[in-house]
Structures are given as structure tokens and as C-alpha cells.
């Protein structure tokens, strides 16, 4: 039904590459905003949820907004908007720099989340077919597994502590910090042991036993991919020209 859902992960990688590059090159707030809006639209069409993405990234967003505000305040060039005595608190250029930073990073984050609308296996296969060495692709894949492993391990330990009577909701911040500090080492060691076991499991199943590797799955470029790549090229080149 929705053509965008059938997009090859390689087309998405291409889009992310082009748009992120443009986001770094463009200075104008208008063009950056256009990139952001279009990326949101593509994300939505590919089956991702813009709002969901923002919600998941809310902590990072707070951080970005914070940095943007700090950046605005510490920029002293431009026409002052707010001054206290002779100190310029906020200038128009500062606001511009803050917004620029915010939108630029949002473009990169939103366009990258387009990649996540492909399944893990499609993405892996896409990278492999882009001739990225499979050692590297699997390394990324395992890194992606390692973080949840670490999180699970951590949660298990926290639950164990809660079962033994520590109420994490009630104890103060300082005590919580101490508790976490004690958890950190065993959790890390455990996760490392687990990932070592995982590496051995991969090895006994022939990972890197041969120089080459066959591929059961194969991604094929379709017309929609061609259309998508060409339109994103026209779109970005257009922006570059009228800039």
C-alpha cells in the first residue's frame, strides 16, 4: 500500500547521508527548517512516528534546548534584546545561533531515525550489500545487543536489591548514587562475560572462519527507490542552488 514502507534501507542511508551533510553546510534557519519538516514527513511516510521519536528522545532534547539557551546567552555579537545595565544577556545573533544549533541537530536526529524504520535484518543486509565488511556490520549489531544486555543486567540487580528491602523510590539521591556505584562494577563484569560467551558462540558457528560469506537474503532496488533517491537529490541540489 504505502510505497515508502517498501524503501530499501540503502535508499534511506543515502537520504540520511545527504540530508545530514546539508544540515551541517546550511546556515540559514529557513533552509534548516525545510530540511527538518521534510525529514519529519519522510519519517512519517516510512512508518515511523515523529511524536514517538521526540518522546523517546525527550531527555536528549532537554539537553539540546539547554545547550541552545546557554549558547544564546554566551553569544555577545549582534543587537541586544535583553540587557541588565551594560551587560548584554541576550542578543538577536545569540538567539539565531541557539536556534540554528537546535534545528541542525534535530535534522540529524530525525533523519537518522528514518533508518530505524527498517528492521534490524534489512539494515544489516543493506550495509553488507553496500560492501561494508561484515565484521564491522556484526560489530555494530552486537554493540546494539550489548546495551540492552547491560540495561537488563542493571535492572536485575536493582530488583535484587529491592527484594532485599532497599526501596529505591524512598531513599535519598545521595544513597541512591552510592547504591548505583556498588552495582556498576558487577553489572559491567557480568555483561562483559556474557558478551564474551556470545562472541564464542559466534565463533563456533563459523563467524570469520572463511574470508567470504554467502548471503541467503538479497535486497533489490525497486522503482520506488530510484524515484526516492532522485527526488532527494533534486531536493537538496535545489536548496543548494537557490541558497
Amino acid at each position: 500500500m504505502n510505497l515508502f514502507r517498501r524503501l530499501d534501507p540503502r535508499s534511506k542511508i543515502f537520504y540520511v547521508g545527504v540530508v545530514s551533510t546539508a544540515a551541517v553546510v546550511f546556515d540559514s534557519l529557513v533552509y534548516l527548517s525545510i530540511l527538518l519538516v521534510v525529514s519529519f514527513a519522510v519519517l512519517y511516510l516510512c512508518g515511523g512516528s515523529g511524536i514517538g521519536t521526540l518522546y523517546r528522545l525527550r531527555k536528549i532534547l532537554y539537553l539540546l534546548v539547554g545547550i541552545a539557551i546557554v549558547q544564546s546567552i554566551f553569544t555577545s555579537e549582534g543587537t541586544p534584546i535583553i540587557t541588565i545595565g551594560s551587560i548584554r544577556i541576550l542578543t538577536d545573533y545569540g538567539v539565531f545561533r541557539g536556534l540554528q544549533f537546535l534545528i541542525r541537530l534535530s535534522v540529524i536526529i530525525v533523519s537518522s531515525s528514518i533508518l530505524l524504520t527498517s528492521t534490524n535484518r534489512d539494515l544489516t543486509q543493506g550495509l553488507l550489500q553496500l560492501k561494508i565488511p561484515y565484521e564491522i556490520v556484526f560489530m555494530l549489531l552486537i554493540a546494539g545487543k550489548f546495551l540492552p544486555l547491560l540495561r537488563d543486567e542493571f535492572n536485575n540487580k536493582v530488583i535484587a536489591m529491592e527484594l532485599s528491602g532497599v526501596d529505591f523510590k524512598k531513599i535519598g539521591f545521595k544513597k541512591k548514587l552510592t547504591a548505583y556505584k556498588y552495582l556498576l562494577l558487577p553489572v559491567t563484569v557480568n555483561s562483559l562475560l556474557k558478551s564474551k560467551e556470545m562472541a564464542i558462540s559466534m565463533e563456533v558457528r563459523g563467524f570469520r572462519a572463511m574470508d567470504r560469506r554467502s548471503s541467503y537474503r538479497e535486497l533489490k532496488f525497486e522503482k520506488i527507490d530510484l524515484a526516492f533517491i532522485i527526488s532527494s537529490m533534486i531536493f537538496i541540489t535545489g536548496l543548494f542552488i537557490i541558497r
Binding site: K145, E197, I200, V204, R205, S214
Partner: protein
């Protein structure tokens, strides 16, 4: 015919001060199910690691004695030969499965051995049926029950069609139904000519074996 001979095997883990395996000798017949049993910590897992050639390179330590696999000295076999000849399923299913679907998990080993697409397709159908996990094909292995995970781990190894299969307490995370299933799968494999070595310390799990060796 004998598939595996172990002669005067000894192994001591790096930094450990005692020999886990000491002057151990045994013969394992081809085309049979051999069960190895013994108390907790007596070195069953270590023995499988030695037979699979994971010691002393991956599990560091001091190894003495000889192991012979289908007429070849283990020391002379390279990693590719080992992968193709001996499949091993470990005790903990959690760290053996790393793919995002069962299907991917199964084809991983076959792709590593550079097996052609059509052949992979054929094996995939065969092994999904043999292990009875067709319905799980597109599921995430991490979200399955212990028993299902162990079936997937066994299937993943079978995809590489090894002559010898080593199984380390594969029944321990598994419910009764799946235990019965695993026994029948192993018997099927034996009838196809595979040599199976299984480690288990529970008598009930190994009664169906052709031979039981206590270490």
C-alpha cells in the same frame, strides 16, 4: 567405528591450581548417542570445550594428552575444519542467540560457511521441520522460552551439518514436553548417522543414550 578418542587428557585453567581433567581416556562410537555424566563441577563442560578445540586457545590453560576426531589429530585441525566437523550447543541459551529472528539465527552459520542460497533454503525447511520450530521462524529468539531457545540453538548448529554434535546440558532449562522433543530429535539425528555426545547430570535425561560414561 570410533568417532572420538580421548587419551590421557588433562586440563588446568589458567591461574587455577588444580587439574580439572586428569588422565582421562575414552572412546566415543560413531553414529551413537553417548552421554557423559558426573557431579557438578567435575569438568563435563570443560571436556566438551577440549573436544571442540576451544582449549587452550579460547579458554586459556594447560592441555595435555591427545584427542583424535574421525582419524585426525585435533591439534592439526584448523578452525574451519573444526566448525564443519563438530557442532556444539552450550548450556546457556541466552548468550548463544544473537540474531533478531529465528530464521536469521539459523542461516548465520550456513552463510559463514559460504553455503549457496538454494542449499540454505533446503536445509532451513528441513531443519525447521525436524526441530518443530516452523511457527517460531520470524520470532525474536531473545523472547522465547528456555526450551524453545534451546531448540533454536540446536537447529542453528544443525544448519552447518556437522558430523559430530556436542550438547552441554541442553535439557536443563527445558520443560518436560520439550525434553521429550529434544530426545526424539537426537534419536532422529542418530538414525541419520550423526555422532552425538551429550553431557547431563540427571539420569532421567540420559537413559535413552546408547552409552553412558561417568567422569
Amino acid at each position: 567405528m570410533i568417532a572420538i578418542t580421548v587419551r590421557n587428557l588433562g586440563f588446568k585453567y589458567e591461574k587455577a591450581d588444580h587439574w580439572i581433567l586428569n588422565d582421562l581416556s575414552m572412546d566415543i562410537n560413531k553414529g551413537e548417542i553417548t552421554a557423559i555424566t558426573g557431579g557438578n563441577g567435575c569438568g563435563k563442560t570443560t571436556l566438551l570445550r577440549c573436544i571442540r578445540g576451544l582449549t587452550p586457545n579460547i579458554y586459556k590453560g594447560k592441555l595435555v594428552g591427545d584427542i583424535n576426531i574421525l582419524g585426525k589429530d585435533l591439534k592439526e585441525m584448523d578452525s574451519l575444519q573444526l566448525v564443519k566437523t563438530i557442532g556444539i550447543v552450550f548450556q546457556n541459551p541466552e548468550t548463544q542467540l544473537f540474531s533478531s529472528t529465528v530464521e536469521d539465527e539459523l542461516i548465520f552459520g550456513a552463510e559463514n560457511l559460504c553455503i549457496e542460497k538454494d542449499e540454505i533454503e533446503k536445509r532451513l525447511k528441513e531443519i525447521l521441520t525436524l526441530t518443530g520450530i516452523e511457527d517460531l521462524r520470524l520470532q525474536n529468539p531473545g523472547k522465547l522460552s528456555g526450551g524453545e531457545q534451546q531448540l533454536v540453538a540446536i537447529a542453528s548448529v544443525l544448519m552447518m551439518d556437522p558430523e559430530i554434535l556436542l550438547l552441554d546440558e541442553v535439557m536443563s532449562w527445558v520443560d518436560k514436553n520439550n525434553r521429550i522433543k529434544i530426545k526424539s530429535i537426537l534419536t532422529d539425528l542418530k538414525n541419520k548417522g550423526k555422532t552425538i555426545v551429550m553431557v547431563d547430570h540427571i539420569d532421567e535425561n540420559i537413559e535413552f543414550a546408547d552409552r553412558i560414561i561417568k567422569i
